[in-house]
Symmetry: C2
Subunit: 242 residues, 2 copies
Amino acid sequence: MTTATAFASAPTATRSIGRTPAVAFERHDEIGLAELQAHVPAVRRKIAQGQYLYRAGQPFAALFLVNTGCFKTCELAEDGREQVTGFRMRGDLVGVESIGLSQFACDVVALEDGEVWELPYPPMLTACLRIPVLQARLTSALAEEVRRDRLWMLALGTLGAERRVAAFLLDLAERHARLGFSGRHFILRMSRADMASYLALKHETVSRALSRLDALGHIAVQRREIRILDADGLRHGAEAVH
Amino acid sequence: MTTATAFASAPTATRSIGRTPAVAFERHDEIGLAELQAHVPAVRRKIAQGQYLYRAGQPFAALFLVNTGCFKTCELAEDGREQVTGFRMRGDLVGVESIGLSQFACDVVALEDGEVWELPYPPMLTACLRIPVLQARLTSALAEEVRRDRLWMLALGTLGAERRVAAFLLDLAERHARLGFSGRHFILRMSRADMASYLALKHETVSRALSRLDALGHIAVQRREIRILDADGLRHGAEAVH
DNA sequence: AACGCTCGGTAACGGACTGTAACCGGCGTG
DNA sequence: CACGCCGGTTACAGTCCGTTACCGAGCGTT
């Protein structure tokens, strides 16, 4: 629920996350990766499971467009507090939170072997000046990131543990479906601890919630394998915390 | 803790929010309001207490730069869930979350009588194409908004009620100080309920936390009047939730 | 002054989530 | 195989915060 999806080379589909049906620029205006490469010298990069795509403090010089694999972004405070703030997959633009800084502002870790396109930022900026559509797209991607974070803040603040887990699964399912895969059956790329951190819960609580949703017949869980049985049940399962 | 501060006509000061000391473009590169007006047809607008600056669903056509007063932004879901996602004051850019949409994505309400500069968005975009510094500044403002939201997500997920309240007060104090006012003595512009919503707590809990911080000698509270007595005490008061 | 309303503070109780701990299964290694 | 390790699940007790309720201060209306 926290991702900037831009320049996606995935199948075109109308999106409908929360209350944000309208998209700034029509789908046909979208600059695909191919066209993007014509203006920005993109470089392929492979990242092995467990490796950092980047770490807080490293010099910021590029954005990354995820091609394959799954990544988690981790926010960490000086006092040791730490939290996963999002999961990034194919089509997601990574690094936007560090724009305007000289150093990256958070950590990004590969949850499995993956590949990204490295998009040098200064060239990207100058390209934006010459190509209005690109400029609009980058700005929109940033704004969308803000909206997604806000929506997730709302979820964190208003939903109980079980509904948070349910909402998370639904979000994963939708993103999965948007990439052309099944929206009813998928594999979790992250550990219970990562989910818990993102959901602001303890991993035991996540386990309990998953077990409960399974018992209710809304999903079928087996380790990291998830099957959505009753999406509506997930959505309206329990009531808001108030 | 959730605000895009850009084009601020406030006294220049080095900022140090969380772990983001470096700013993309040096302070002297910053485009002030005066220069901004040379390129974008800004319009003054007064908003009375309790009035909406804009509501979700209204056509999006402009950003707003807060001149005076204080505003709250409210995120709301279809199912009735609702939460304050930030407070905006002088120098803050409002509306960035709606960029790329045809309609505004949230509600913004005036907590007191105030005044804003209305910055028509399409002209702003074209101006960005002609003026690289403006473009960089807008993009940075958006990125900073993402960083602030992430930092607040971290606080929501890792801090207990009392520390959340403390962190909120410290944030307010710093923003106040950055505007040239006292960072040790200020007036809360929002009700306990608004604070509670933003902090993802109940207003009673906010009351308790304030009373406790007062009893500990960290602050002095009288209705909406806050005096910071021991900033370090506030910062390190209790430990993280873990 | 009496009334009603909103906003803020306090206290007692209960419940949801946490913290701890034990257990299980899979996997790699000695 | 035995072993330890890691990730995941489950059980139980503890705690923090939400719930409910009541009270007081400020303010506008009658």
